[in-house]
């Protein structure tokens, strides 16, 4: 029997943070970002960490495989893949739907979990469900938990920074908790859901060979992407606005590290 993992990563695109993100009420009555479809996008950063951790784990665990399940407008997903496909090997499961930040977590989770259930060859007993512990566009922090529940995965870990596979096959997991500390947990093994924080790995460099290999399956996956209806459920939106600035940023140059540390300590104590 294989010891490899079947790692399913959920993650999609978010607008490039350098862009001006101005919420407006759309014609459909739902909020959207101004010129949202035309804003360049990147992979949701937390989902990115999850994907890179998944690829790293798969590379050091023989017979493992990584799927990326992404819900978003098909054509924009394709554009995203031109960068992402060069990072790490994975197989794409594309869902053609909204990637808006104004959708409901349960609606998104339903589409994702149904897509995961439909993955051919996925061994649910060996499955690790990865995703971001939050999202840069819809920061409910609930989506991955609901996906896990819908797939009957009850070992769930959030804000994960580290995962080690022990010799006996158990998983040792470090989750972020308050005060800069970690909660260390051990679970017997898959299936488990891990909502990643930043992890410990840098963003992999582009590798065109990996890209060309991935694209052989990505393009067909995009072509057969099923249309999904990801909405806002029963929510209604009265108005949308940019969050009020809560803090003032002070820009200083050439401040010694000791001085920065002193200020931080002072701020934490306050």
């Amino acid at each position: 029997m294989s010891n490899g993992f079947h790692i399913v990563v959920c993650g999609s695109l978010v607008p490039d943070p350098l862009q001006t993100l101005q919420p407006v009420m759309g014609a459909s009555g739902l909020p959207e970002l101004k010129s949202e479809m035309m804003l360049p996008s990147v992979l949701d950063p937390w989902a990115g960490h999850a994907l890179f951790e998944a690829a790293h784990l798969a590379a050091k665990t023989p017979e493992s495989k990584v799927w990326l399940v992404s819900a978003g407008p098909k054509a924009r997903l394709q554009q995203l893949m031109m960068t992402l496909a060069q990072k790490v090997p994975f197989e794409l499961v594309a869902l053609d739907g909204s990637a808006s930040g104004f959708t409901d977590a349960s609606s998104v989770a339903k589409s994702l979990s149904e897509a995961i259930e439909g993955i051919a060859g996925l061994d649910r007993s060996r499955m690790l469900l990865f995703g971001g512990c939050a999202s840069a566009s819809r920061d409910a922090g609930a989506t991955m938990q609901i996906v896990g529940e819908r797939l009957s995965i009850h070992d769930q870990f959030l804000a994960v920074d580290e995962l080690d596979v022990e010799n006996d096959g158990s998983l040792r997991i470090l989750e972020r908790i308050e005060g800069g500390q970690y909660l260390e947990s051990v679970c017997e093994g898959p299936p488990a859901m891990l909502g990643w924080a930043t992890g410990t790995l840098p963003e992999p460099k582009n590798n065109p060979q990996v890209g060309m290999m991935n694209m052989r399956t990505i393009m067909p996956a995009l072509q057969r992407a099923q249309s999904v209806s990801v909405g806002a459920g029963d929510s209604t939106f009265a108005s949308v606005e940019v969050p009020q600035q809560r803090r003032e940023t002070r820009i200083v140059k050439d401040l010694p590290a000791d001085e920065i540390a002193r200020e931080l300590v002072e701020w934490i104590r306050s």
Binding site: M37, M38, L39, Q209
Partner: protein, 746 residues
Amino acid sequence: MSVASVQDEKTPVMQTLPTDEVRQIMWRFADRYDLQMLVQSTRAVARGVVARIVAEGARNTHEWTDAKDQMLKAYDESGITAMMSTPEFGGYLAGPKNFVMALTAFELAWVDAGAATCSLAAGLALEPILEKGTPEQQAEYLSRCVPPLPGEDRKIARGAFCLTEPLPYVGVDTGIMCGKVRVAEWEEGKEPLLQVDKRGRFITNMDYANFVVAAVESDDDRIKGTCMVILEEDDDGVYDRGAVTHKLVHQLSSTRDPIFHMTVPASRIVGGYTIQDGVVVPNHNHGKVLEAVFARTRVPVGVMTAAKLVSAVEPIIRYQRGRFRGGEGAPGTPRYDLGLQMKEDVLHRLVDVWATGEAATSLGLAAARHFDEFEELDKTRDDLYAEAGASSVREILKIRKKTEKLALEYLDLLTQSEEERDEARIAELKSNRLVEFMIGESLSNILSPATKLWNTGQGANMMREAVSLMGGYGITEDCPGFLPQKWMDSQLEATYEGPESVQRRQLIVTMTSELFLAQFRQWIVELRTLASERPGTGACTLGSAMELWLWTYRHLQDSKDADGKPLYRDKRQGATFPMADALSWLLACRCQILDCLELAKKGPENPVLGDALPGYVQFFTDLCHVQAAHAAGEVSRICADLVYGYNRHPSWDPACEQCVQAGEIDCLEGLIPGISVGARLSGDVVETDGSHANKAGPCPHFTGMDGFISRRNKLDGCLTGSRLAKDRAGNVLSQVMIPEALDYPI
């Protein structure tokens, strides 16, 4: 500026800067995910490693530093190094590399053209081997130049292309060369060993090149002619990398003046050799190799300058809008929100910069695509001649002459209406590969020098304009987007790989090809049709400008100057070179319009563009119109200058035929009352005391110039609406969303 005056509510407005989807459609690689990935990969390197080291001051030294070396490592990791190779030798991109090189150059030059040159020069070293190398040489160097594959333990071989020597005109004139090759040793039955002595000048990549492809001339009766030869750093002899070149520009590329005194086997002659009567005869002389290489590699250089112009748009908009922030004026006031963009002039000037950048990019990428399409056919040219029974130079010339007639017939048939033309004959001519080759060749001979000439020359002028739009910031190291560095760099782009005069010299010959001129006439017809379908693109303006150019060209061919000397001759560069410049303006403009048309046609197929598409199409249409008007103005000025400028202005000389002597008309006053006054009002009259009107001389007459005058008048009228287009485009620039910050360091 008044929005209402140029735009009504129905005029679509571009909301964001053009996205990758827009560019992929316009530049025809929407269906090439391999190229899209390369673009993204290169962009990450350009706006990451490259931008960082530029911001940290890596350009402040001529020496090759660790920081610059990081750039090469990033090229290796991201696939830029391997792009020139093919999948069978460890590369990942199959097929021709011209468009690939152009796209890579565009992305790198968006940040720093020296970085682009670094990549381009590696390709330049491989090009002779790719084009003319033996299968063994191709296998050797194409596999060694890619990063090690998993399980391999080797260094990447990096190359340099060594043509230019301290002696002037080497490279410019392929007949002059000091680098020598002799037979060092030739044992009976064994391969000859060659002694190569070459001094290079301004050789790119020399700090780290492991091999050099050098042009040399025989200094030995036992070697015939010239050739290109590959030198390895560990060959016997001197491989001196030489003194560093103190460039003021492109400091991210390595440039030195190397010296080689080396012994290498004759198998290093690019393309191999044969032994004929005890003489080593290279299969390809160096001129033939250069012709194949430079025809293509000049195109990416032109694309570099184009990229810089387009890259300047976002930093300039940001500077203009933020100019008054921090002073008086609260958010929500025009002064705060629009800054300098309250003023029409800065918007119009930025429109000009952008329009030039678009035209230059369109021309460069169209040229690159053409070379990709033409490459396979081009490589079979010798076989095509052989199939036609031509082997000697004379026979080839004869078959070319014959084929040219067929090609002209083919092009003529294409201009006829579908009902009238002989389809069977068209099919027959179309299937003639030599006909296809000669048509393609006539375009290659124009597109490459035009791209290099216009993109870099006019590009450099417009980069100055871009820098000026940044105010005092524009001449500081802190200028966002590295605009002053880009301005300086563009001067080198106009110079290396054949300076402007070389490109003009090539154009004034190649543009006389009747095959090219036949296509040129066909383009005019197409532009008229396009103008009727899509008015507002400037296609009609461009068509009129092309007609004026064509009339002028024919006129110059048959005309003589005031001293009776013919005008269109190689040595009369004052008459010929400006026509090459004018042609380049026209070609760039045409390519720009075609790209805009492609977006309008294919854009609806991309669901992402959706509602935003009309805004993009409208904006690019307006840019086309602005550029067409600019090109028309330039062409009009150049043509008028040439048509009239070589005629001698009449003077008040008593023998002047155009003057009327006062005595003569006064005598006629009795017969024709009023003639004395009338002639003085309308003509040039010399009074009896010799006095005359206060001007240089009698006004010249324009006999035989009706064709020119009518075409120029028409062209002037064709400018109608171009300023409204500029107003609209300027208005968009004051509204378009830009990112919060530049996506690379400053």
